[in-house]
C-alpha cells in the first residue's frame, strides 16, 4: 500500500515536472525578452548621449550573426558594437569553435532565437540549408557583387547565398631560400620564375631536397600533415586540381560521377609532397596545420601549400613579408604556362528566411552597412584582411598582405585563375574517405588503388547518399 502511494506520488511529480518542462519554453522567451530589453536600455542610454540615427524608426529588428571564422571573432564583435552604437540595432555575434560550424549551426537554428545571418561553404553546404535561405535578389550585398559567380543562385533564380570574401591558394614559397638555391652548384633554375610546370617543380624540389643541408632547411615542402587541422589542404584543396581539369575536359560545372582522369597527376603531386618533405611519411598522421605553418615561418621549409588567409599565422617570424611569394600548384595537366592560382570562396552569407521580417530587414541593413560604410570596409581591409567580391571595395580598400599581392599579380598578368570546384564535392564523407586513403598510401599501410576507389566510387556513393 505504502509502495503504491509512493509510486503514485512519483508519477504525479513526474507529470508535473513534464508539464513544467513544456512550460519552460515560455521562460526561455521571457529570458530572451529580458535580454532584448536590456539591449534596448543600452540603446536608450546611447541615444541620450549621442545623436540618433533615423534608422531606429525604420528597423525594429535585431541581428544575430553566427560567424564561421574564429580568427576574426573579436573583430566582428567590435564592428557589431560600432554598428549598434550608430544605428541602435542590436547585433549579436557568436562564433563557432574551429571545425564545429555545422554542428553549432544545427543546434542554433533549432532555437527560437535562431541566427538571422549564417554561412554556408558552397553548393554542397547549401544543400542542407537551402530551405532556410532568404532570397537575396533585392539585397544591397547582391547588387554590389562584381559578378554572379560569387553568388549561390538556385535553378529557379533565387539568390540563396552571397560570397563575402575571396581567397586564393597556391604554393607559398620562401624567396630567400629559393634565391640561395639558385646560387648553388648545378642549380636547375636561375630564377623562381622558371618554375612553370610540374616537371620543373619536381626537378627543382628533388634537387633542393638533396641539398637540404647546404640550404639549411629540413625539407623542401612543409609537412603534409593529415591531422584534421591540415588534411583539408590535400583532400580538398589539392583534390580541386584533378577535379577542375576533368570538369574542363568534359565541360561540366558539377557531376554525379567523377571519372578520375587526372588521378595520376594527383598522385605525382602527392608523392612529391611526401617525399621531399620535412618529415618521414609515417609521421604525417599526427602532423598539424600549426606544425606546417611553423616549419614554413621558421624557414625550415621552402614551399607550403596554403592560401592568403594564412598570412597572420606565418608573418612576424623568420620569413619577412617581402620573402613570401606564391606559385600555382602545377600538377602537370593543362596549359601550365598560363596557369594561375586557385581563387574562390568558401564563405557565403545566407539570411535565415524563418526569422521575422523585422529581423531580416535589420540583417540586410547590417550587411549593407558592413560593405558600404567606411568603418566596415576599413575593418575588412585592416583587421580581417579580406579581399571581397563587392564593387564597394575600391582600390584603396584592398588589404596589404604579400600573399594577396602575389595573388593579384597573377590575375593582372592574365593567367587563368582556377576556380574552387571543390565546393561541388558531394560531402564531407567523400573528403574524409580520400584523406584517409591518402594518408594510408603515404605511410605505406595502404596502396594508391584505395585512393582511386575513395575518389571515384566514393564520389558516386556519397552523391547518391546525399541526394536521395
Amino acid at each position: 500500500m505504502k509502495k503504491k502511494l509512493v509510486s503514485i506520488l512519483l508519477i504525479a511529480a513526474l507529470t508535473a515536472a513534464a508539464a513544467a518542462g513544456c512550460g519552460n519554453r515560455d521562460n526561455n522567451e521571457n529570458a530572451a525578452d529580458d535580454k532584448n530589453t536590456s539591449n534596448q536600455e543600452n540603446e536608450a542610454v546611447d541615444n541620450d548621449n549621442g545623436g540618433e540615427d533615423d534608422l531606429i524608426q525604420e528597423v525594429s529588428g535585431s541581428v544575430y550573426y553566427l560567424n564561421f571564422k574564429p580568427e576574426q571573432a573579436q573583430q566582428w564583435k567590435d564592428l557589431a558594437e560600432e554598428y549598434s552604437d550608430e544605428t541602435g540595432i542590436p547585433v549579436t555575434i557568436e562564433t563557432a569553435a574551429s571545425g564545429t560550424y555545422e554542428s553549432t549551426l544545427k543546434s542554433e537554428m533549432a532555437k527560437s532565437e535562431a541566427p538571422t545571418l549564417f554561412q554556408v561553404n558552397g553548393p554542397a553546404g547549401l544543400a542542407a540549408w537551402k530551405d532556410y535561405c532568404y532570397d537575396l535578389k533585392d539585397s544591397a550585398v547582391y547588387k554590389n557583387l562584381k559578378s554572379d559567380d560569387f553568388a549561390l543562385i538556385s535553378d529557379d533564380g533565387q539568390v540563396q547565398g552571397v560570397a563575402y570574401v575571396i581567397e586564393t591558394y597556391g604554393l607559398i614559397y620562401n624567396k630567400e631560400i629559393l634565391e640561395d638555391y639558385c646560387e648553388t652548384n648545378g642549380a636547375k633554375i636561375k630564377d623562381v620564375s622558371e618554375i612553370n610546370s610540374f616537371a620543373k617543380l619536381k626537378e627543382v624540389a628533388d634537387d633542393m631536397q638533396a641539398k637540404k643541408d647546404e640550404l639549411e632547411i629540413k625539407g623542401v615542402f612543409a609537412s603534409a600533415g593529415m591531422d584534421s587541422s591540415s588534411d583539408w589542404r590535400y583532400k580538398t584543396h589539392l583534390a580541386n586540381m584533378p577535379i577542375y581539369f576533368e570538369y574542363q575536359d568534359d565541360d561540366l560545372d558539377t557531376t554525379d560521377a567523377i571519372k578520375g582522369t587526372y588521378l595520376d597527376a594527383y598522385k605525382n603531386m602527392w608523392d612529391l609532397y611526401i617525399t621531399d618533405s620535412t618529415v618521414e611519411p609515417t609521421m604525417l598522421s599526427g602532423m598539424t596545420g600549426e606544425d606546417a605553418a611553423a616549419e614554413f615561418s621558421m624557414g625550415e621549409a621552402a614551399f607550403y601549400q596554403n592560401g592568403t588567409w594564412v598570412y597572420n599565422d606565418i608573418a612576424g617570424n623568420d620569413v619577412d613579408d617581402e620573402d613570401m611569394g606564391m606559385l600555382p600548384i602545377y600538377i602537370g595537366v593543362g596549359d601550365e604556362q598560363n596557369q594561375g592560382l586557385c581563387t574562390g570562396s568558401e564563405n557565403y552569407w545566407c539570411v535565415n528566411k524563418n526569422a521575422s521580417q523585422d529581423d531580416i530587414d535589420a540583417t540586410l541593413h547590417f550587411m549593407e552597412w558592413v560593405i558600404t560604410s567606411d568603418r566596415g570596409r576599413e575593418t575588412f581591409r585592416d583587421e580581417m584582411g579580406f579581399v571581397t567580391p563587392f564593387e564597394t571595395f575600391t582600390e584603396e580598400y584592398q588589404p596589404e598582405n604579400p600573399l594577396v599581392a602575389a595573388a593579384n599579380e597573377y590575375i593582372d598578368s592574365g593567367k587563368n585563375s582556377i576556380p574552387w570546384v571543390f565546393s561541388t564535392i558531394p560531402s564531407e564523407g567523400w573528403k574524409n574517405g580520400v584523406g584517409s586513403a591518402l594518408l594510408e598510401y603515404a605511410q605505406g599501410t595502404g596502396d594508391w588503388d584505395a585512393v582511386k576507389k575513395a575518389f571515384i566510387e566514393g564520389w558516386e556513393s556519397e552523391y547518391r547518399a546525399v541526394n536521395e
Binding site: 502511494l5 542542407a128 599526427g286 574524409n432 584517409s436 547518399a465
Partner: protein, 280 residues
C-alpha cells in the same frame, strides 16, 4: 516524522525531478521520435518510418565501431578492475604513505576527458616519434593508447571503491581463515573476493558502461583516425549525425540502438555479478 516526510516529498523531490525531466526524459523521448524522422534541425523533423534503422545496419563503419568498442570494453574492464583491485589490496596493507598514494592514484580522475586525451596524445606521440610513427598510424596504436589512458584515469576511482569494500571485511573472517591454515591465495579467492563482490558489481558496471559510452577521450586522442578505424560507437554516432547532410536521423537511430545495447549488456552484467554476492 514519517508523515511529514511524505508531506514534503514533492517539495524536496520536485527540483530533481524537474531537472531530470528537462535534462533527460524529454530529450530521450524526443530522440526516439527523431530517429524515425528526416531532419536538419530538431524542430523541423519529418516522419519517415524505419528508413534510418535500415541504414544503420548497412553502415560498415557502424559495425566496425561496434566490434572495436566491444573489444575495447572487454580489455579495459579487465585491465582496470584487476589493476584497481591489486592497488587496493596493496594500499590496505597499512604500508607507509598509504594516504598519499591513494590521493595520487585518485587524482587523474579529476582531469576532464578532453584534456587527458590531448595530454596522452602528446605523451604517446612523443614516444612513438622515436620510431617515426604516430598514434594514428594505425588503429592498433589508437586502441592501446586508449586502453592506457583509460586505465590511468579510472584505476584510481575504482581503487577507492575496492578499498572501501576491502576495509568492510570483518577482520575475524580473515583471522579465522588464517587459523584454519588457509594460504594467502586461498584467503584472496575464498574470503576477500566473495566479500567484496558488491564492489566488484559496482566497478564492473561503471567500467563497462564507461567503456561503451566513451567519447571525449576517443575524440581527443585519435578522433577516429586513421580512416575511422579507431572510432568507438559514441564517436561514430556523433560523426554520422554531423558528418553528412541528411544523415541526422541515421545518427539518431544509431543512438537508440546504442542505448538498447548498453542497457541490455548492463542488465545482464548486474544480474550475473549480483548472483555471486554473499550476505555477511
Amino acid at each position: 516524522m514519517h508523515k511529514s516526510l511524505k508531506r514534503y516529498f514533492p517539495v524536496f523531490a520536485f527540483p530533481t525531478l524537474a531537472a531530470f525531466t528537462i535534462g533527460f526524459f524529454i530529450p530521450f523521448v524526443m530522440g526516439i521520435y527523431l530517429s524515425f524522422c528526416k531532419f536538419t534541425t530538431v524542430t523541423d523533423a519529418r516522419f519517415i518510418g524505419f528508413g534510418n534503422y535500415l541504414k544503420v545496419f548497412t553502415d560498415k563503419t557502424f559495425l566496425h565501431s561496434l566490434w572495436y568498442t566491444v573489444a575495447f570494453t572487454i580489455v579495459s574492464v579487465v585491465f582496470i578492475n584487476v589493476l584497481a583491485f591489486a592497488v587496493a589490496m596493496l594500499l590496505t596493507k597499512g604500508i607507509k604513505g598509504t594516504n598519499l598514494f591513494r590521493t595520487v592514484f585518485f587524482m587523474p580522475n579529476l582531469i576532464g576527458g578532453i584534456v587527458l586525451g590531448y595530454i596522452w596524445q602528446l605523451l604517446l606521440n612523443g614516444i612513438l616519434a622515436q620510431y617515426q610513427k604516430t598514434l594514428t598510424y594505425n588503429s592498433v596504436y589508437g586502441f592501446w593508447g586508449l586502453v592506457i589512458l583509460m586505465c590511468w584515469q579510472q584505476i584510481g576511482y575504482m581503487m577507492i571503491i575496492y578499498i572501501s569494500g576491502i576495509q568492510n571485511i570483518p577482520g575475524e573472517l580473515i583471522e579465522a581463515a588464517k587459523i584454519d591454515g588457509a594460504k594467502p591465495a586461498q584467503i584472496l579467492f575464498h574470503v576477500t573476493i566473495p566479500m567484496v563482490m558488491p564492489s566488484i558489481t559496482i566497478c564492473t558496471f561503471l567500467t563497462l558502461t564507461n567503456g561503451f559510452k566513451l567519447f571525449d577521450q576517443n575524440l581527443a586522442l585519435t578522433n577516429g583516425e586513421p580512416s575511422r578505424m579507431s572510432e568507438l560507437l559514441a564517436l561514430n554516432i556523433f560523426n554520422t549525425f554531423y558528418g553528412r547532410t541528411g544523415y541526422e536521423g541515421v545518427g539518431q537511430a544509431k543512438a537508440v540502438v546504442f542505448f538498447l545495447l548498453v542497457t541490455i549488456i548492463a542488465i545482464i552484467q548486474i544480474r550475473l555479478t549480483r548472483t555471486k554476492e554473499v550476505q555477511q
